[in-house]
């Protein structure tokens, strides 16, 4: 039954980013959307995370304008389609001109990303009935209409009355990590910068999101000290797995031979 869990998780991960900005030009930014809950009980609020990344060599604007009424960032355009790929109509507002909100100024330096901010898309569209829905958002590249738009990846949302399906599709826990080194802790706004040779660690927080007890007792490796209950994936800038220290094996051999 849990086989479907991984597939459903993948549905919430940004995998396909298309750019409608001029295909000959590198878009100055990308937009990734995801959801922690790709399968949701009918009638529940639907939240998606939006993360904007600066792909350009200069600063770009990332100012957010969350609406008080809908809790979505009005700086983006939203599109939701049903299982027949027919666009849904937005929930009509009696007085849209009275809609208020906030302005959160923000600038992204080259390579930086915004945190994955939550947006309540069920405030814009009626997603209370069972079905499968495609969600994609976009943003104009600039005030110049000829500059085109940048589109996000598409995620699939399943709305169902089947409580068991919702439970099976929801991860039983959440893992959050943050890098640290020499007393500094990383943020989500960009790469965590350290000097070559410095010791680097990660804070790992495991949060139980289920209604059953989760095992969280660590099992530390004698040599590296890392918790063996986790799998660590470390890759270089080309995406290749980083090699492990070879001297650890030597040390381990020595310890074994001494034991």
């Amino acid at each position: 039954m849990r086989i479907s869990f991984l597939l459903l998780l993948l549905a919430g991960i940004p995998v396909l980013t298309s750019r409608s900005a001029s295909q000959n030009q590198q878009a100055p930014f990308s937009i990734a959307i995801s959801t922690d809950t790709p399968v949701i009980k009918a009638g529940s609020d639907v939240w998606i995370k939006i993360q904007k990344t600066n792909l350009s060599p200069h600063d770009i604007d990332c100012t957010a304008a969350p609406s008080n009424a809908t809790a979505v960032d009005r700086k983006y355009q939203y599109e939701v389609r049903d299982s027949n790929r027919i666009p849904l109509a937005k929930i009509s507002k009696t007085h849209p001109e009275l809609e208020s909100g906030s302005i959160w100024p923000c600038t992204l330096k080259p390579g930086q990303s915004t945190p994955p901010n939550d947006n309540r898309i069920s405030g814009l569209y009626d997603l209370s009935h069972p079905g499968k829905f495609e969600i994609q958002i976009s943003q104009d590249v600039s005030n110049n209409p000829k500059a085109g738009v940048v589109k996000s990846n598409t995620i699939i949302l399943t709305v169902t009355n089947n409580t068991a399906a919702v439970k099976n599709a929801t991860p039983p826990f959440k893992l959050t990590i943050d890098p640290y080194s020499l007393g500094k802790v990383g943020t989500e706004s960009g790469p965590f910068v350290v000097d070559a040779g410095a010791e680097v660690g990660i804070d790992i927080v495991k949060t139980n999101t289920s209604d059953v007890v989760q095992d969280c007792a660590p099992v530390h490796d004698d040599v590296s000290g890392l918790d063996e209950k986790y799998q660590y994936d470390v890759r270089d800038s080309s995406g290749n797995p980083v090699t492990k220290h070879t001297d650890l094996h030597t040390l381990h051999d020595v310890e074994c031979s001494c034991g």
Partner: protein, 48 residues
């Protein structure tokens, strides 16, 4: 309910060369990897 731990990844992985590294942590959802992994977000670390 949350549980926090720390892991000094440079004890195990060679991140001594300058570059941008990506680190992600995962754990089987229910004791068996065949039943799917819960993954953290990937964090970027720039070594200079």
């Amino acid at each position: 309910m949350s549980q926090a731990s720390v892991a000094t990844i440079t004890k195990l992985y060679d991140m001594s060369r300058p570059g941008i590294y990506t680190v992600q942590v995962s754990q089987p959802a229910s004791g068996s990897a065949a039943e799917g992994l819960v993954k953290s977000k990937a964090v970027k670390i720039k070594v200079q």
